[in-house]
Symmetry: C2
Subunit: 237 residues, 2 copies
């Protein structure tokens, strides 16, 4: 049963945070998953990066900490989107021993506050070496059965991501600092699941002050190189 909280820094046994980290490699939208430590008896299961909330941190701080600890990612777009609290959401974990590595009672109920974040996959890949075998970028259309209710959480995050994409300009977070208009268009097409017209897409961007053209052009492609752009946050203007 739940243990007494004797120290202010003891983990709160009832609340966790989970992060759905989206990345884009110009072809597919991917989600960062971690492999749970396999204690031997059961096949390994994948899960979202997450951890219990500590007694003295708020939810945003917990999510930021988890992301840093498990993936070394810092300073990225991170947004709380929904809290999941079904009493049975723990049941889907095959290896209860694994749960015991961070919770006293593996059957205890845990409510999780879910966040989603967006990273530039390109920027992240060089660093990924240090997590070899632990961190996996999985295309969103090929997600296997995950631990807990994490499949549900990923689906909800996707739904929310699409909503945000339709109304706000958060796409830039998934692209490298310097990007082409085709990359931006492909990203929108993949996230929203639609085909867009090149000229209309560009026309709409002309009325936006959030992207600025560089003098620079794309290199290393075997066709006409495209102009590069950077994102200029509105809050800086």
């Amino acid at each position: 049963m739940a243990k007494s909280i004797t120290s202010l820094n003891a983990p709160n046994p009832n609340v966790s945070v989970d992060c759905v980290v989206f990345g884009f490699d110009n072809e597919k939208l991917k989600v960062l998953l971690i492999e749970q430590r396999n204690t031997g008896q059961f096949e390994a299961q994948l899960a979202l990066p997450g951890d219990l909330v500590l007694e003295r941190e708020n939810l945003d701080e917990a999510a930021t900490r988890v992301l840093k600890q498990l993936t070394h990612l810092e300073g990225i777009y991170l947004k709380q989107f929904k809290t999941f609290g079904d009493p049975n959401r723990v049941n889907n974990v095959k290896d209860k021993e694994w749960l015991r590595t961070f919770r006293e009672d593996p059957a205890a109920r845990v409510i999780t506050v879910a966040y989603y974040s967006l990273v530039k996959l390109e920027d992240y890949l060089p660093e990924a070496a240090s997590f070899a075998g632990k961190v996996i970028w999985q295309p969103v259309d090929e997600i296997p059965a995950l631990a807990f209710d994490h499949n549900i959480i990923v689906n909800e995050a996707l739904k929310r991501l699409r909503e945000e994409f339709e109304f706000k300009n958060i796409g830039y977070e998934l692209l490298p600092k310097k990007f082409t208009l085709s990359m931006l268009q492909t990203l929108h097409e993949i996230v929203l699941g639609v085909k867009l017209d090149k000229r209309n897409f560009r026309k709409k961007l002309k009325n936006s002050t959030t992207i600025i053209a560089l003098e620079e052009k794309q290199t290393g492609v075997d066709h006409k190189p495209a102009q590069l752009f950077v994102y200029q946050s509105k809050t800086l203007l």
Copy 2:
């Protein structure tokens, strides 16, 4: 400190739900508040209806139960919108004794999952008699200092309500079953804080299949009576 959970139905000491219930009386947008039981030493404080989540219920069930127990409201639009987890959010309660009426440790940390809901104030008023002195409908522009971080929660709910109003047709939930187009327009004007053009507002509604005109007209007004409409949910079509 937190007590052990010895029964499956024991309250979970770490998670609560709070409901921001919006109502509209054709003049002002209001929020339902309850008066905390005054234990004498401190002035009474108002708070949102809320309670700890029980061990065997999920979050939506908890919110539904709380709303029913504290306000007798059932079967209404109820939507989770944000979870609040600042470690200090309990500090703003003046009367710690009052906290003890439902929590063992009044200083313990509680994370709350906030919901908002919309009710037809008209329908609700007759029932309100049974809660005299406990339930208060407060205009959103005259909210006093509330317990916990409930002022922050109300503000976030308002923000979210406005967002939903701009994109979805949820306004009908705040109106009586039979409403006039002027009532619907006034509601939009008050929630969004803007003045709308009568003809343009009606023109847009013509392209919507969600409201249908009745044969019936308004009664009891000292001017030309308006036609009445009802909302026809899209999911029923």
